[in-house]
């Protein structure tokens, strides 16, 4: 699969929301088996407006509202996928995916395996994750680790409109079940972690051009979003921007890798970078303990042990629920990343 298979020459500035909508639009158009459903996604177009206009364009048989039952949404999606459809189901917030966890873990992830490939579940669960919008403990979580732990699932998280569209198209086309986490802090503009400074909207941002037609971004390739020699920062989603801001602010020659696909993982790109820099920081919003960062640290030390000059540092959300008033104390912002870089570079 090449990085992009452009079939349309036109590109347009898009927010991440528009890019996601465009991905669904393209796939609804191309493949009759694609259906979209979830809470409030039909007539209204989703609480974040990601599916706005799609029901009007493709009809109620292809794009429709679901009862407020995440387990039901997941179970129905699995049944549809087993039939031969390619459902793209929205879970309104990642914090509400837990009622669907059994269906995802016990069913979607294992159907192919336990039936020896006779039945499969090619589906996508899209869900907004992450904090930074004063959503409090039930509108801010990043549950990627509990999916990456489960054999049979793919877990994906984009950090910009281009990747969001390309990865979503690739996820819809993929024959494995995909957990597609959308950092809601990036929906309307990138965010560098400085909550006290104005945010640049995607419309005014350099990285906003998205092809209007079909293309895909592969599910097994990380992106080096900033090259550097001093230290490797492994991250994904909102904190990709934080890492870059931290490197700029501190003037440190950090290499920032946007994992994009969390699992399966592009280990090669990671190992090559860490072997080059000899230092590594892992950065994510989720709680630290048993977070996806733990796996990254484990892999880095397994594969780059003799190249490491300092312990791999984790900069993460704290091991508490995501608080409301203290949101920015919780969020792993540039200052904490800079501190970590200094520690890692000192050693």
């Amino acid at each position: 699969m090449s990085e992009t298979e452009l079939q349309s020459t036109g590109s347009a500035p898009m927010t991440m929301i528009q890019a996601l909508r465009s991905a669904m639009d393209v796939m609804l158009e191309r493949d009759d088996n694609v259906v979209i459903f979830g809470e409030d996604v039909g007539y209204f177009g989703g609480v974040f407006r990601c599916t706005d206009g799609l029901q009007a364009k493709y009809g109620k048989q292809r794009v429709f509202d679901a009862p407020i039952s995440e387990s039901g949404i997941a179970g129905a999606a699995i049944g549809m996928a087993a039939y031969g459809l390619r459902p793209v189901a929205e879970i309104q917030f990642a914090d509400y995916i837990y009622p669907a966890y059994d269906q995802i873990v016990s069913e979607a992830a294992r159907l192919r395996y336990r039936s020896n490939g006779m039945f499969t579940s090619p589906l996508v669960f899209r869900t907004p994750c992450g904090g930074g919008i004063y959503g409090g403990q039930t509108h801010s979580q990043s549950p990627e680790a509990i999916f990456a732990h489960v054999a049979g699932l793919r877990t994906v998280m984009p950090s910009n409109p281009y990747d969001a569209k390309g990865l979503l198209i690739a996820s819809i086309e993929n024959d494995d079940p995909v957990i597609f986490l959308e950092p809601k802090r990036l929906y309307n503009g990138p965010f560098d972690g400085h909550h006290d400074r104005p945010v640049v909207a995607w419309s005014k941002h350099a990285d906003n051009l998205v092809p209007e037609g079909y293309y895909s971004v592969p599910l097994d390739k990380a992106a080096i979003v900033r090259e550097g020699q001093a230290v490797t920062i492994l991250t994904y989603g909102t904190t990709v921007w934080v890492a870059q801001a931290a490197a700029e602010d501190a003037g440190i020659d950090a290499e920032v890798i946007d994992l994009r696909s969390l699992w399966p993982l592009d280990l090669e790109t990671i190992v090559a970078s860490v072997k080059k820099t000899g230092r590594c920081i892992v950065l994510h919003e989720a709680t630290r303990t048993c977070g996806f960062g733990a796996e990254l640290v484990a892999l880095v030390q397994e594969h780059c042990f003799y190249h490491l000059e300092a312990p791999v540092e984790r900069v993460t959300g704290w091991d508490t629920p995501y608080p409301h008033a203290q949101e920015w104390d919780y969020f792993p912002g540039p200052a904490r990343v800079i501190d970590a870089m200094h520690r890692v570079l000192e050693d």
Partner: protein, 416 residues
């Protein structure tokens, strides 16, 4: 190998996707709501069986008629003082909501949820309970706290997530917790607390106590699995709990038919699970009080749970993040056939000689003043995002009873 006897080649199937009768620019046809005249529905004995309540799950228990009179078997004794308290609490709830909505628009906080048009339900039920009972509310039962006369300043500090927030800034605005007022900590996750209320009630029964619980859920959230769990457990163990379903016709943008309300009622589910169940006019304070008292007495008499579907209308947006004009006729609330709960109670109180238009206006302006004073005081403790907010160190407390080492290390790392 064909195994069926059916001969014909059937027509293609088609997915049914329910719709409300109107979208923006159209007029809702409220005839989908089955109504009963005030006073028309029987009041069964406390030890009624679930099966016997089947008719009550499609009819509608109402007490106040269009003239403001209280009629029929559910028009039980109700003290004047209770009625006046109800009116006061409903007015105060509405005024509180109005003020906090403005505060949110002024960016003093991140979020607010009002209960416009649904005030009678939480207020009426609370008046029918006893101290020691525990309510497991959703985000739309602030009427409970106001009936219980909890400090407005404190509630506001929670909404403002400021330094005096009793929940230390940890929770989203309006996700109150008031143990002393019999108000369980609200969860942002829908329906999880419905079964917890049943568990709490089971505990009261296990201990041989006399306390009962109330569980609250919206029409939309009944679709969650925990609604089913709650009904199953409540039935199996005869748990002393009132299972409230507030059917305000909408769940954010989706009509109650998407939750499974088309051509059936949520009350019917209760009866089918073996739980005596009622469908009640939720905009009729007297009906709310009477049905709640009946259910509370059943629970306290060891007769188990009662499910009550309250028919009402969400007159405002879902929350401050919502714009209902995008998905439903803008003037729907005015056409809702069960009217406005405050107007209806006012008419009754006036007829009863307990109230007047003048008094009504006077109490309203007194309440507005009280609320403004309270907000001023609350704001003196800070606004969301201001420096006057709960400390970062508070973030690490109460994760466990005693702070474990790893959290101590993390707190040190943050330097707080």
């Amino acid at each position: 190998m064909s195994t069926s006897q059916t001969p014909a080649t059937p027509a293609p199937l088609r997915l049914h996707v329910p719709e409300p009768s109107a979208r923006p620019g159209q007029a809702t046809d409220f005839s989908y709501l089955q109504l009963s005249p005030a006073g028309a529905v029987d009041k069964p004995a406390l030890d009624v069986t679930a099966g016997q309540t089947a008719p009550l799950t499609t009819q509608l228990v109402r007490v106040l008629d269009d003239n403001g009179d209280a009629v029929g078997p559910w028009a039980a004794d109700i003290d004047d003082a209770v009625l006046l308290r109800a009116m006061h609490a409903m007015l105060k709830t509405r005024a509180f909501d109005a003020r906090m909505l403005i505060a949110q628009r002024q960016k003093k906080t991140s979020f607010y949820i009002q209960c416009l048009g649904e005030e009678a339900i939480a207020v009426g039920q609370t008046l029918a309970l006893r101290d020691g009972d525990m309510q497991f509310p959703t985000y739309r039962q602030q009427g409970i706290l106001i009936t219980k006369e909890v400090s407005l300043v404190e509630m506001m500090c929670q909404v403002l997530s400021n330094a005096a927030d009793p929940l230390k800034g940890r929770q989203l605005p309006i996700m109150y917790s008031y143990k002393d007022a019999g108000f369980f900590s609200i969860s942002g996750n829908l329906t999880t607390q419905y079964i917890q209320a049943v568990g709490w009630a089971m505990a009261s029964a296990i201990k041989g106590d006399t306390k009962i619980a109330t569980a609250w859920v919206g029409d939309g959230a009944t679709a969650e699995g925990d609604f089913h769990a709650a009904l199953v457990f409540a039935h199996v163990y005869h748990a002393p709990v009132i299972l409230n379903v507030v059917n305000n016709q909408w769940a954010i943008s989706t009509f109650q038919a998407i939750a499974g309300g088309e051509n059936t009622t949520f009350a019917a589910r209760g009866a089918a699970y073996g739980i005596p169940s009622l469908r009640v006019d939720g905009n009729d304070l007297l009906a709310v009080y009477a049905a709640s008292r009946w259910a509370a007495e059943r629970a306290r008499s060891n007769l188990g749970s009662t499910l009550i579907e309250w028919v009402t209308y969400r007159a405002g947006p879902h929350s401050t993040s919502d714009d209902p004009s995008k998905y439903r006729p803008a003037d729907d609330a005015q056409h809702f056939p069960l009217g406005d709960p405050i107007e209806r109670l006012k008419r009754h109180l006036i007829k009863r000689g307990l109230w007047s238009e003048e008094q009504h206006e006077q109490v309203r302006s007194e309440l507005d003043a009280e609320i403004s004073r309270a907000l001023k005081e609350a704001e003196s403790h800070g606004l969301l995002g201001s420096d006057n907010r709960p400390g970062a160190a508070d973030m690490f407390n109460d994760v466990y009873k005693d702070m474990p080492d790893h959290l101590r290390r993390q707190r040190q790392q943050l330097g707080v």
